[in-house]
């Protein structure tokens, strides 16, 4: 029997694993991941990780930036804990070997980042997530007792009588379906960007963990808050990191005009100014794009309208020194050179503020079930996450969840209930049936695409009640059709189609919660902008959305008050102070 | 920890590689191509003898021969194993290759001293 079973081998999952291994080596820890851990999506993060370090910066300022950036929907106790623990987590990573970029005197270097008033974003060139994940992964190799289930796909949580008892998972390479009993389970499965058509997220970000918890009765929180990043490459959705703007890049429209000055984001200055213009928060920048589009000041391409990111004035030297990966990506995936060419960009779905509802220790309402990382909603991100807050978040709360789960496992040493076997058996039969294949029905990819376009249309940067209501019906219909989807692959060995089908079910489930929460929130806040309710309404909606799965499988949305400690709601001000 | 001879063999191989790179082309060019073709005249036997009278020259020649032969032995061992897929007979191949190099070295010493 495993004491702490971690689903997900990204930054959050691995940090939790090390935390357990370090606090109590006698506990049996396992990491189950549908891809080899170092392939997890944390690897793609580019820009950096925020933590107060320099003189002249304070924890309170980081708190304030985070809370105002989140449009006062963050739980302030969570933010305070997060901000206080972030520095030691990043230093811990340094002690494990992370190649942070350095000042000439050997100290860790920091850079400015969108929505942050002080320079506090640590970076490892522009491959921060890559270095962070590989450092963590290689460090976990030191703990040889951590069991790894590499390329195992979790399809179900075993929950009995309000308590988790393990998971059911498929070993992808052999098709073996196994029930893995565990005293505690930590979900660290990352986000669900793939419910949208145009996203920076990798193929594996299908919201499995959120769906696993949600199906067993755990509520999801703030699912309507979907972050659009203002600068994605058209077609591929590859992200051009915010660091490109932090280093001095400009956003210009088709007339070469730095249009952000028209949207209450400050006045253009030749060098970047914190919390102003191009360094404003992501939601506001993405919204400005839509307005430009409506004014006809964007450029049309086969992949939709774009504006330009201009890095030419930075010069080759600075680009190569500070943001080499941006240049590499532009060259190999867009066939242009940012030193001499403008980069076409458009807003792209990037991050889920919402997720499985947890407390400060990652505990969900299901006993023994924890969640951490992008899949969880603690909530420190509120209505809009600040860039470079997510990497420290997965570390801080990954560790916290690990420690809390270890404590839970030590206290609950009872034997496994019979429900484990029976639920495992049911799940096995369901999967085996799915693997028999089906010659009729629609293709998984087609259903997926329809879901994605439904979400983009109804729950994009701007939303209206009518569109959302229509989307509710479309998604319900798609869910039924997904049950009948066509499956060509009947093999047991590395059957990715079977996996894709499970992922589609997860995504549809998640998509429904996004739309339901968005429909319920009749105000505009942060990343959630309703054209039919364009103002923020603290009276009615200074509260989290909490969505449960009703017995008939539809989402039912309620509200949960926000925890306010020291920062009463105010106006979000950028670029004028 | 398992001990291995490879570091020593590799040093001999590398040293031989450098020496071979520096001296072999010019020697082959002169004695093997230009002189036989008559483009350059053969030096007199006395001249060459005179060169060989220097102990240092003879010593240097022995070093060159030994290192170059080891270089060749090392490469021939590895390449033959890769080309012919006979890595499982490594010991035999190695004995033959390095044995040849040692024999050549001994021959050189006997010849010159």
């Amino acid at each position: 029997m495993i004491d702490v079973l971690i689903v997900g081998g990204g930054g959050a999952g691995l940090r939790a694993a090390v935390a357990v291994a370090e606090t109590d080596p006698s506990l049996k820890v396992a990491v189950v991941s549908k891809v080899y851990p170092m392939r997890s999506h944390t690897v793609s993060a580019e820009g950096g990780a925020a933590a107060v370090i320099g003189a002249g910066d304070t924890l309170d300022e980081h708190c304030y930036d985070t809370i105002s950036g989140g449009d006062w929907l963050c739980d302030q106790d969570a933010v305070e804990a997060f901000v206080a623990e972030a520095p030691r987590e990043l230093i811990q990573l340094e002690h494990w070997g992370c190649p942070w970029s350095r000042e000439s005197d050997g100290r860790v270097a920091v850079r400015p980042f969108g929505g942050m008033k002080k320079m506090r974003t640590w970076y490892a060139a522009d491959k921060t997530g890559f270095h962070l994940l590989h450092t963590l992964f290689q460090t976990t190799l030191k703990y040889q007792d951590v069991i790894r289930y590499d390329e195992w796909f979790v399809t179900k949580l075993v929950v009995d009588d309000g308590r988790v008892h393990g998971v059911v998972a498929v070993e992808i390479r052999t098709g073996r379906i196994e029930t893995i009993p565990a005293r505690t389970v930590i979900l660290a499965t990352g986000g669900c960007g793939k419910v949208f058509p145009f996203t920076t997220n990798a193929a594996i970000k299908t919201g499995d963990g959120m769906a696993l918890a949600y199906r067993e009765g755990a509520p999801l929180k703030d699912m309507e808050f979907v972050q659009y990043h203002p600068t994605g490459l058209p077609f591929t959705g590859i992200l051009i990191t915010e660091a490109a703007r932090a280093e001095g890049g400009w956003l210009i429209n088709k007339d070469g005009y730095r249009y952000l000055q028209d949207y209450d984001l400050g006045k253009p200055t030749p060098t970047p100014k914190l919390r102003s213009m191009e360094l404003g928060p992501r939601d506001r920048l993405s919204q400005a794009f839509v307005h430009e589009q409506h004014k006809g000041r964007t450029v049309d391409t086969p992949y939709g309208p774009v504006v330009y990111l201009d890095l030419r004035h930075l010069g080759e030297g600075k680009i190569d020194a500070r943001i080499p990966f941006v240049r590499e990506l532009c060259r190999s995936y867009q066939n242009l050179d940012p030193a001499t060419d403008l980069i076409p960009v458009r807003p792209v779905v990037h991050y889920m503020m919402g997720g499985v509802h947890t407390d400060l220790d990652g505990a969900t309402p299901i006993a023994g079930l924890f969640a951490a990382g992008e899949t969880a909603c603690v909530s420190i991100n509120g209505a809009n996450r600040l860039g470079s807050n997510s990497l420290p978040e997965i570390l801080v709360f990954g560790r916290r969840a690990g420690i809390a789960a270890a404590a839970f496992a030590r206290e609950h040493r009872d034997a496994e209930p019979p429900a484990v076997r029976s639920q495992g058996g049911d799940e096995r039969r369901r999967l085996e049936r799915a693997r028999e294949g089906s010659r009729h029905g629609e293709r998984i990819a087609d259903l997926r695409e329809q879901m994605q376009h439904t979400l983009e249309g109804a729950a994009g940067i701007y939303r209206t009640g009518d569109e959302l209501a229509k989307a509710v019906d479309t998604l319900a219909d798609l869910r039924e059709r997904a049950e009948e989807a066509r499956v060509d692959d009947t093999s047991t060995a590395f059957n990715t189609e079977l996996i894709n089908l499970q992922e589609l079910h997860s995504m549809l489930e998640i998509a429904q919660t996004v739309v339901a929460c968005a429909l319920n929130r009749q105000e505009s806040r942060g990343a959630h902008q309703r054209t039919d309710f364009s103002a923020r309404d603290d009276e009615a909606f200074l509260a989290h959305s909490l969505v449960h799965r009703a017995p008939d499988g539809t989402p039912s949305v309620g509200l949960l008050p926000v925890t306010i400690t020291r920062w009463p709601p105010g106006e979000r001000v950028y670029g004028r102070d | 920890m398992r001990r291995t001879l490879e570091p020593y063999l590799w040093l001999l191989f590398s040293g031989g590689g450098v020496v071979a790179a520096l001296v072999v082309p010019v020697l082959v060019l002169l004695f093997g191509v230009l002189m036989p073709l008559g483009i350059v005249d053969w030096p007199t036997a006395e001249h060459l003898r005179g060169l060989l009278d220097g102990v240092l020259v003879r010593l240097a020649l022995v070093v060159v021969v030994v290192l170059c032969l080891f270089h060749a032995a090392h490469r021939i061992r590895h390449t033959s194993e890769e080309l012919l897929g006979i890595a499982r007979f490594d010991l035999l191949v190695a004995v033959m290759c390095y044995g040849g190099a040692i024999a050549g070295g001994i021959a050189a010493v006997m010849l010159m001293f």
Binding site: - | V24, P25, V28, G32, V33, P43, A45
Partner: protein
């Protein structure tokens, strides 16, 4: 036991599958130009060895006073042919070996490493110099 045999990262939970193990490709060196060049590079060593044999024959001839006979042998067309090939091989060896040398030797100045082309340039200059000196002694010497 090898250190790496002690390591079993996830073997504990891994079921082995019926994987297909490709057979050895006996013509691997012909599959790409780079492989072929590599094999040719390695085979230069045969000619290096031959050069040493040839050199020892020369030395023996000089010491025995039979240089004439050696010269006659060396002038045989097939001998010249072998040596022309040996010369090409030796030159190829020199170029590749001296170019690859900076891979193993990283020279640092002021904390930053010296670029490869500098080391390569130095190596090739040394090659020319050594060749010139040898040619000088063989052909003229200090009479």
């Amino acid at each position: 036991m090898k250190a790496r045999d002690k390591v079993t990262p996830s073997a504990a939970v891994r079921t082995t599958s019926a994987a297909y193990r490709p057979r050895r490709d006996n013509l691997w060196f012909a599959r790409s130009r780079n492989y072929t060049i590599f094999v040719l590079r390695e085979l230069t060593s045969v000619f290096v060895a031959w050069s040493m044999v040839f050199l020892l024959m020369l030395v023996a001839a000089v010491l025995d006073g039979t240089l004439e006979g050696f010269a006659a042998l060396a002038a045989q067309p097939w001998m010249i042919a072998i040596n022309v090939v040996a010369l090409a091989a030796a030159a190829f060896h020199s170029v590749t070996f001296l170019n690859l040398a900076p891979k193993a030797t990283v020279v640092r100045l002021d904390g930053y490493r010296l670029p490869a082309w500098m080391i390569q340039g130095g190596n090739h200059s040394l090659w020319l110099l050594v060749s010139a000196v040898i040619a000088f002694f063989v052909l003229r010497g200090f009479r």
